[in-house]
């Protein structure tokens, strides 16, 4: 793609330097050998391989203090209702974003804690999607107030809007759009089980109509009896254990539990050897003490072994909690955003080092945005939000969508600065799906409401 090569070189050098700093000098030779092997494995299928990675910010991230209005007029409109929660313009100067395409006089800055992402924006590896949120069809303020269009049910409710973002349906949804994309590609993978991979908890996003999400854990698959072949001294008992755990059962719940057990054991056997060849220690860019980084490192390891497994297309889900900041916003959110930025940066730099940066597109999602109005030390549930798309294929250093008006009683406001989304999650998703290789004809299978939007908007152009 058109991404500058300088980042790649810098990153690779940093990767190697930091691995030495991490005390790996003693094993430098095997490490380099191992890295080379990873690169070759990935390169063998490089022309085919693509991965989508969803980073979900659980709890509804406050977008106003994540992508902060920065031009003086906008900042003033933002700062007054935010009161003590507002970030000052001075503090934002270092992380202000200068896009390659002007935004009609509007400007934004990243939260200062997200500084590790500024170089990615400048290098055209990071794009911003403006005012993204759950919708069923295009919706204006008047239409919202008159309830004259269909609206996502249970707006402002965490669990339901998480689900609607991921599945176009509230809690209880039977499949999500990541999984429905997986449906289309799993037959082309060497092992269909490793098409939709979750490195956090269960999420409806990754369940397709036929594709099943596989939960991989951050340390790789857990081995039954910790790899032992006997139970309390009996090999027979261990064999009985394996058989009994996976047998079908006349009770539906019991049978499904056994199905999960069987998938766990089968896939563990399949992945264990491949992952052993790409140990955590060969991924030194990821910061420690960062749960999201742990998950993304596992994603990177899975990508690194994709060649071994004959995998062509993979959809990943990782998540990070704690964003429901009705209080302590000013102290807590910067910590979370700092972890987010550090983990994203490490992940991107690792894909560069692996030579697959343009094969991996990472994007953020969240329950909803927040109110502009402060409740004193926090903000309440909103709707539209700001999101990030990252990767070598991304047409970065740009904003996509429409910058929303800031304040109360604007055409974009449904109260206290809750934004009516102007980019539907469906449009955000269809853009990603098209890059991944979903045909235009299959889009309505993946995103049932996409037909409610003009076809010219099905790709927002950011990747």
């Amino acid at each position: 793609m058109n991404a500058p090569t300088i980042l790649s070189d810098v990153s690779r050098r940093a990767f190697l330097q930091r691995s030495a700093l991490f005390g790996m000098a003693g094993v430098a030779a095997p490490f380099v050998t191992s890295l080379g092997a990873i690169g070759e494995a990935a390169a063998a299928t490089a022309s085919d391989y693509k991965a989508l990675v969803c980073i979900f910010l659980l709890g509804g991230n406050d977008h106003y203090n994540t992508l902060v209005p920065y031009d003086p007029t906008s900042h003033a409109l933002y700062a007054k209702p935010r009161g003590s929660l507002a970030l000052g313009r001075d503090a934002l100067a270092a992380t202000a974003l200068v896009p390659s395409v002007d935004l009609g006089g509007r400007a934004y800055a990243l939260a200062p804690a997200m500084a590790p992402l500024n170089p990615l924006f400048d290098a055209e590896r990071l794009a911003v999607a403006l005012n993204v949120g759950t919708l069923i069809q295009p919706t204006t303020r008047v239409q919202y107030q008159n309830r004259s269009v269909r609206l996502p049910p249970k707006l402002f409710s965490h669990n339901d809007q998480q689900s609607f973002f991921q599945a176009s349906s509230p809690e209880g949804a039977s499949s999500g759009w990541g999984g429905r994309i997986g449906d289309l590609f799993q037959s082309g993978n060497g092992s269909s089980t490793v098409t939709c991979i979750n490195a956090s908890g269960n999420a409806v996003f990754l369940s397709g109509r036929s594709a099943i999400q596989y939960n991989v854990g951050t340390g790789g698959p857990v081995s039954l009896l910790r790899g032992g072949s006997s139970l309390y001294g009996s090999a027979t008992a261990a064999q009985t254990l394996r058989r009994m755990m996976t047998e079908t059962n006349p009770n539906l719940l019991a049978s499904e539990y056994a199905t999960v057990n069987k998938r766990a054991m089968d896939t563990q056997a399949q992945l264990a050897n491949a992952l052993a060849g790409t140990p955590e220690s060969t991924f030194p860019l990821f910061p420690s003490g960062n749960g999201l980084a742990d998950q993304l490192r596992m994603v990177a390891r899975m990508i690194a072994i994709s060649g071994d497994l004959g995998t062509k297309r993979q959809v990943f889900f990782v998540s990070m909690g704690g964003f429901d900041l009705h209080d302590n916003l000013a102290t807590t959110q910067p910590v979370l955003l700092g972890r987010l930025a550090a983990a994203m940066r490490a992940f991107h730099d690792t894909t560069v080092a692996l030579g697959v940066a343009d094969k991996v597109t990472t994007f953020t999602g969240s329950d909803f945005g927040r109110t502009l109005a402060s409740n004193g030390n926090g903000v309440d549930h909103g709707w539209g939000s700001m999101h990030f798309v990252m990767g070598g294929a991304v047409k970065g250093k740009r904003f996509y969508g429409t910058p929303p008006a800031i304040g109360h009683n604007t055409p974009d406001d449904v109260g206290q600065g809750r934004l009516i989304p102007t980019m539907a999650v469906d449009q955000y998703a269809s853009t990603l799906a098209r890059w991944f290789g979903v045909s235009e004809g299959d889009l309505s299978t993946v995103l049932p409401n996409i037909g409610n939007y003009d076809k010219s908007t099905w790709s927002q152009g950011f990747v």
Binding site: P221, L224, Y232, N249, L252, A264, G376, G378
Partner: protein, 588 residues
């Protein structure tokens, strides 16, 4: 107690050399898994106490939005069932943290209804608070003012050894949807704050749901977890508005849910669209009521203020009127809080919303509409015109024919619920008399999804808890059948395996001095049929299928009696295989 030399070997300990599997030809024929030593003791009385109650509107004031007053579904004619040891064990698996041989005998002696009444009359076990104090965690030097020391120990101690098992079980069910997680409490003395909250659930488990709501709305841990401590009335000059967190979740998660419900739990529709329960404005208005809350005192030298009800600071409390759910409160202070809770409590949704979740927690993931309707009716009116009487609700849930009909549950492909992971641990611990002579109860935090259970009491990461009542695992036959399975939210490829590995350690050697007493099992262990039948009865309510029983017996018999620690290892095999069996894992 077992001596150190008798600890079941783990694979990493490898105390025992592999013995060739050798079938014992003297084994008796496979048992049907039915305990014959306890004959018919209590029978027909068990179904008598199911209150059908009055109409759902009885004793309540109707508040908009109105729901039609339903006619409660009459209880089906009780079928006279013979209470067996297996039935008693199954009941105890629903109503307690796990059956024991003693409690099975007790239920057989008194019958189920009388056993419930006896539980209602029992005094509470020592509170979490008092236990933490008794261990010195309240001293600034010896304690841990900012930390959680003692919390897990107290929780496991009560769950495993509590002398009030029905109360413990109901409180855990309440904690599954009236959620606080200790890590989300931004207060000092967190073990005390969380302990005090669980104490409230235990205190009110047999009380009235309205009183429970009033108590949790004043609880310090809740005030912090849902951030209404410090919430201030609207400030027109700055545009600052009250924090909506508690107002929203009080309605969405604790009382009403997001959709209007019939009394049997079905969603009310209009033109094919579910009717929602409240609007954004309702939340914003209710939030005005929960302003000005603060801890009772500013003294942080002791944990005392973590259990004292919060107070309202008049200067930041909204005293103007707030209109929500079609009703209005005004005047501020705790009077407005109580008036607001009264309005919510009278909403017709509360009975089916709370009743269905309690059924799902205790009995089955997919109760029939009629079952929900019967329990809702008992919630709405205990027969004496009282709404929210938990004793009536508990009786209605546990004595309902749908809960008690074992043969229907075993025959139905969709019946039962997945035992949640923490209950699997307590099932084992209670069944085999786990104690901690030092009172250390070192089980600790079990939330790790790759090393432990993926769940730990009082450690949910958000107010949405570990399980969701409407969850269905996508892409499965459960989803295709239109069923829910809340506990599958925390079942995954990694956690299912981690559970086995963790229990392998616990069953084998306990943790610290928290250990089982297998004396009675080891006495049976030379005879694999007797051993497996007893484990099946106590741990699995006799629900292991014959083929499963046979497989476990064969595995037990693979350890020859001549082997070192043979009876102990045979016991361990019987227990762990039972814990791993899908027959056990789904309590029908």
């Amino acid at each position: 107690m077992l001596g150190d030399d008798a600890i079941i070997d783990r694979d990493d300990a490898a105390l025992i050399s592999e013995a060739a599997a050798r079938a014992d030809p003297s084994n008796p024929a496979p048992s049907e898994g039915f305990d014959a030593r306890h004959g018919v003791i209590a029978a027909a009385a068990l179904l008598a106490a199911c209150d059908s109650g009055g109409g759902a509107g009885g004793g309540t004031v109707s508040v908009a939005p109105p729901a039609p007053t339903p006619t409660p579904t009459p209880s089906p004619t009780p079928t006279v069932a013979v209470l067996t040891a297996r039935g008693a064990s199954r009941f105890l698996a629903q109503a307690t943290m796990g059956a024991t041989r003693t409690s099975i005998d007790s239920v057989l002696n008194t019958g189920i209804a009388a056993w419930i009444d006896a539980q209602f009359a029992l005094p509470r076990d020592m509170s979490h608070w008092d236990w933490l104090v008794s261990k010195g965690y309240n001293s600034e030097s010896g304690g841990n003012p900012s930390g959680q020391n003692g919390f897990d120990a107290s929780v496991w101690r009560q769950a495993i050894a509590g002398s009030d098992p029905l109360r413990q079980r109901v409180a855990l069910a309440l904690l599954d949807f009236l959620v606080i997680g200790i890590n989300g409490i931004n207060l000092s003395w967190r073990a005390f704050a969380m302990g005090a909250y669980i104490d409230l659930l235990l205190d009110h488990a047999f009380g009235n749901y309205r009183d429970l709501l009033g108590a949790i709305a004043r609880n310090a841990a809740m005030g912090s977890f849902l951030s209404f401590i410090g919430s201030r009335k609207a400030n027109p000059s700055t545009g600052s508005l009250p924090d909506e967190n508690f107002a929203r979740e009080l309605m969405q998660l604790f009382t009403l849910g997001v959709q209007q419900l019939e009394q049997d739990g079905t969603v009310r529709m209009s033109n094919g669209v579910p009717l929602e329960t409240y609007s954004l404005d309702d939340v914003a208005q209710l939030a005005r009521v929960f302003t000005g809350f603060q801890l009772a005192t500013s003294d942080n030298k002791t944990p005392d203020r973590m259990r004292e009800p919060m107070v309202i600071n008049a200067s930041t409390n909204e005293t103007g009127s707030s209109t929500f759910l079609g009703a209005t409160v005004s005047g501020g202070g705790m009077a407005a809080v109580d008036a607001a809770i009264d309005i919510i409590f009278r909403h017709p949704n509360v009975a089916p919303f709370v009743s269905k979740q309690l059924i799902q927690r205790l009995v089955t993931s997919n109760p029939s509409r009629a079952y929900v309707g019967r329990v809702s009716a008992a919630f709405a009116n205990n027969g004496s015109g009282v709404r929210g009487d938990m004793k009536a609700v508990i009786r209605a849930i546990l004595l309902d024919p749908e809960a008690r009909d074992e043969s229907a549950a075993l025959a139905g492909a969709n019946s039962g619920r997945l035992r949640e992971p923490v209950l699997r641990l307590t099932n084992w611990a209670r069944a085999f008399g786990v104690t901690s002579p030092s009172d250390a109860w070192t089980i600790g935090d079990t939330t790790s999804t790759t090393q432990r259970l993926g769940q730990s009491i009082g450690r949910a990461s958000s107010v949405f808890g570990f399980v969701r009542p409407g969850y269905t695992p996508p892409g499965t036959a459960i989803a295709q059948a239109g069923l829910t399975a809340p506990e599958f939210l925390i079942a995954s490829e990694q956690t299912n395996i981690a559970y086995i590995n963790y229990m392998q350690s616990l069953v084998g050697g306990g943790t610290g001095d928290t250990k089982a007493d297998y004396t009675a099992m080891m006495a049976l262990a030379p005879n694999s049929a007797q051993l497996v039948d007893e484990v099946n009865l106590i741990l699995a309510a006799g629900q292991l299928r014959p083929a499963t029983v046979t497989a476990i017996r064969t595995a037990v018999d693979s350890i020859p009696l001549t082997a070192t620690n043979a009876t102990l290892n045979r016991t361990g095999v019987a227990i762990l295989l039972t814990l791993a069996s899908p027959d056990y894992l789904v309590l029908k």
